[in-house]
């Protein structure tokens, strides 16, 4: 069951790489939150109950409800519907994502490691690099934020892999999540949308050296 969930998580990355509509991105993020909820529930067996409840609540409330709802609100208020002109065509994005996943699988096979389930390692690392790739290849600030959230989900998967031995690290992952939420709230409630009407990174080029 865990394997199935993690594979669905991996597939959601492919879906993200060809998505065009901003609402699709938000929905996939919410789906990833739900998947992480179940993974955490199934994986963290030897953790104390109170801590487990905290982690589960965090995944369901922050990852799959609060952040997506807030992102949708931002999208609606700023009238953003599509990811206009990505730097690379969707088809190429799909190929790059595939290359990333295949590379991480090959990488994980070269590592001799008995303490870590390789499945987690592959999913986490490919999510991390796909997120970085999204940030590098998209133009809108809000897509960058979503890329960051994808990275964070990947990191959360990795922290679940060691969660049974070191529950503290999962809690740190939650702190990272809360930090990101504060960041998004802070930036967008400070009316970044009013200052940058289109919220495009191409407008963020005024700070330069000469």
């Amino acid at each position: 069951m865990l394997q199935v969930l993690l594979i669905i998580f991996l597939i959601s990355l492919f879906y993200l790489s060809i998505a065009n509509r901003m609402t699709t991105y938000v929905n996939v993020l919410a789906l990833q939150g739900v998947l992480l909820f179940f993974v955490a529930f199934l994986e963290l067996k030897s953790i104390n109950t109170l801590n487990l409840i905290l982690i589960l609540l965090e995944t369901i409330i922050f990852k799959s409800l609060a952040v997506p709802i807030f992102l949708k609100y931002v999208l609606k208020r700023n009238h953003i519907t599509r990811e206009a002109e990505p730097y690379v065509p969707n088809f190429v994005s799909l190929i790059i994502t595939t290359v990333i996943v295949v590379t991480t699988i090959l990488l994980s096979n070269t590592m001799e490691e008995s303490y870590l389930d390789k499945m987690y390692f592959v999913v986490a690392l490919s999510t991390l690099f796909t997120g970085l790739y999204f940030i590098a290849s998209r133009r809108k600030i809000i897509t960058h934020v979503m890329g960051y959230l994808v990275i964070e989900n990947g990191v959360f998967v990795l922290s679940l892999a060691v969660g049974n031995e070191m529950p503290m690290l999962v809690n740190l992952g939650i702190m990272l999540d809360i930090f990101a939420s504060v960041l998004i709230l802070g930036i967008f409630l400070n009316k970044i949308g009013d200052v940058f009407k289109d919220i495009d990174v191409n407008q963020l080029t005024n700070l330069k050296d000469y």
Binding site: V162, N190, V195, L207
Partner: protein, 476 residues
């Protein structure tokens, strides 16, 4: 005491956020400085004690805490002046500024003393949030751009550090303990899994470079220092950089005690050299005085990390250099505000003949320039010389030659611009609007620069002992 300090600072910070009264704001901020000083004295008196499990008043922590406290006093004085002179002051922006300042200083001080890698990470996170509130002080489009870049790069760096910690926990899997404190890591360094440790070091090092201002994540810091108000930029280029250094250094001590010592030094050395190179290239081109100062910080952090990479006397020199750099660079940023008051511009073409308009201020710029470029009477000459010696000792002659060449370029670029600002009149400059600035405003800078010279040329025995104890665990 650390609990009292943390709770007290959080209360003062929150009160500052919500109380917009002017007198109350200033009372609270001085109350915080009193708390900070009391805490520092307490930490010095309880040398080597551990408090609340996660904080140890060890030698490196004490050195950095003292530096932070010394710099935060003039920072508050200059913030006071800055806010009062600012044209767009509102009770809200003042309250946010001072609230964020309190949280920043507290988080940085606690990160110095934390003995557990995860605790350092949490405080690093808090500094990102509070620093971004300071950078966004002006609330205009450019400030927003600077803040956004800073936040985003720092957020990714923090995630990198977290991934590094996760890998570290995997490297630690063989040990039947889940305590990731530096002491425990050092005690079990022989049992660490080297391939995971390698990954962990790469990620943690890359993550902390955003705070340290080293290649590859240095860009965030440069933009931030450009847009942040002068006193805040002074903190960003001194105590926050020290925090990045502490984050890397403490973990480096662990790695240095395994067989990865040589590899880790190589990684640090490469990043340091590239930083120096980048600093040299940009310093020649850059026309914005504030960015030039920020790139000069990148250069110095490159030198500090070269000292660490070379080892031997370099370890001692690196810590000495980063402390002296904090004093000198913060005084330069404090002076920047007066410079801006005179010329209302930060483009080098629009600045000039500063000696005529503000003689004491110009003296500060001149002395700070001599210190920053490490010319002989200044304290940084000693530390830089020791770093060169460590490179010489480790037989890196070619590297040393290239570094010296790059430094010559940097000194040339810096001197060209500083002397233009000090002596050559600016074209079409309207003298009638120059305000008269009190010489008293430069006193704190003289003290900081003088202190740096004193610490460099004639270091008190206790200071030398503290540095020596901090590097004791490194292999010699």
């Amino acid at each position: 005491m650390i609990e009292i300090y943390l709770i007290g600072s959080v209360i003062i910070g929150t009160l500052l956020f919500f109380n917009r009264g002017k007198a109350l704001n200033y009372t609270l901020i001085w109350l915080f400085i009193a708390l900070q000083c009391a805490f520092t004295i307490y930490a010095c008196m309880n040398y080597n004690q551990t408090e609340s499990t996660y904080f140890t008043f060890d030698s490196l922590g004490i050195i950095m805490l003292l530096t932070a406290t010394i710099i935060s006093i003039p920072a508050v004085i200059h913030s006071h002046i800055y806010i009062e002179e600012s044209e767009e002051k509102t009770p809200r922006s003042r309250a946010t500024y001072f609230g964020a300042l309190v949280i920043l200083i507290t988080a940085v001080s606690s990160a110095y003393l934390a003995n557990h890698i995860a605790v350092v990470w949490i405080f690093t996170e808090i500094t990102t949030l509070s620093a971004s509130a300071l950078i966004y002080h002006h609330r205009n489009k450019l400030a927003l751009e600077g803040t956004w870049k800073y936040i985003f790069i720092c957020a990714i760096s923090i995630t990198f550090v977290f991934i590094g910690i996760l890998f570290l926990s995997l490297a630690f899997a063989k040990v039947s303990s889940d305590d990731l404190s530096y002491k425990n890591l050092l005690a079990h360094s022989a049992l660490l899994n080297l391939s995971w440790l390698r990954l962990a070091f790469l990620f943690i090092f890359t993550g902390f470079t955003a705070k340290l201002g080293l290649f590859p994540m240095f860009t965030a810091g440069v933009d931030a220092k450009d847009k942040a108000p002068g006193p805040a930029a002074a903190l960003l280029s001194s105590i926050v950089m020290c925090m990045g250094f502490v984050g890397i250094f403490r973990f480096y001590v662990v790695v240095a005690n395994t067989s990865l010592l040589h590899w880790a030094s190589l990684v640090i050395g490469i990043a340091a050299f590239i930083s120096l190179f980048i600093a040299a290239v940009y310093m020649i081109k850059v026309k914005n005085i504030k960015r030039m100062m920020a790139y000069s910080s990148v250069e110095h952090m490159g030198l500090v990390m070269l000292g660490i990479a070379a080892g031997g006397i370099g370890y001692y020199a690196a810590i000495l250099h980063i402390v002296l750099h904090s004093f000198v660079k913060s005084s330069l940023f404090f002076q920047y505000n007066q410079l801006y008051r005179v010329f209302k511009n930060k483009n080098i073409y629009q600045l000039g003949n500063y000696f005529k308009y503000n003689t004491t201020g110009a003296l500060v710029v001149l002395l700070a320039f001599i210190s920053v470029t490490a010319m002989p009477p200044s304290g940084m000459f000693v530390s830089e010389f020791l770093i060169f010696r460590s490179l010489f000792d480790s037989n890196q002659l070619i590297l040393l030659l290239v570094v010296l060449l790059l430094l010559t370029l940097i000194i040339w670029a810096f001197a060209k611009n500083i002397f233009k600002i000090l002596f050559i009149p600016a074209v079409n400059f309207d003298e009638s609007t120059v305000p008269a600035l009190s010489p008293w405003r430069s006193v704190s800078q003289f003290i900081l620069i003088g202190g740096a010279a004193y610490l460099g040329l004639n270091p008190p025995l206790i200071f030398v002992d503290l540095i020596k104890t901090s590097i004791m665990l490194l292999p010699h």
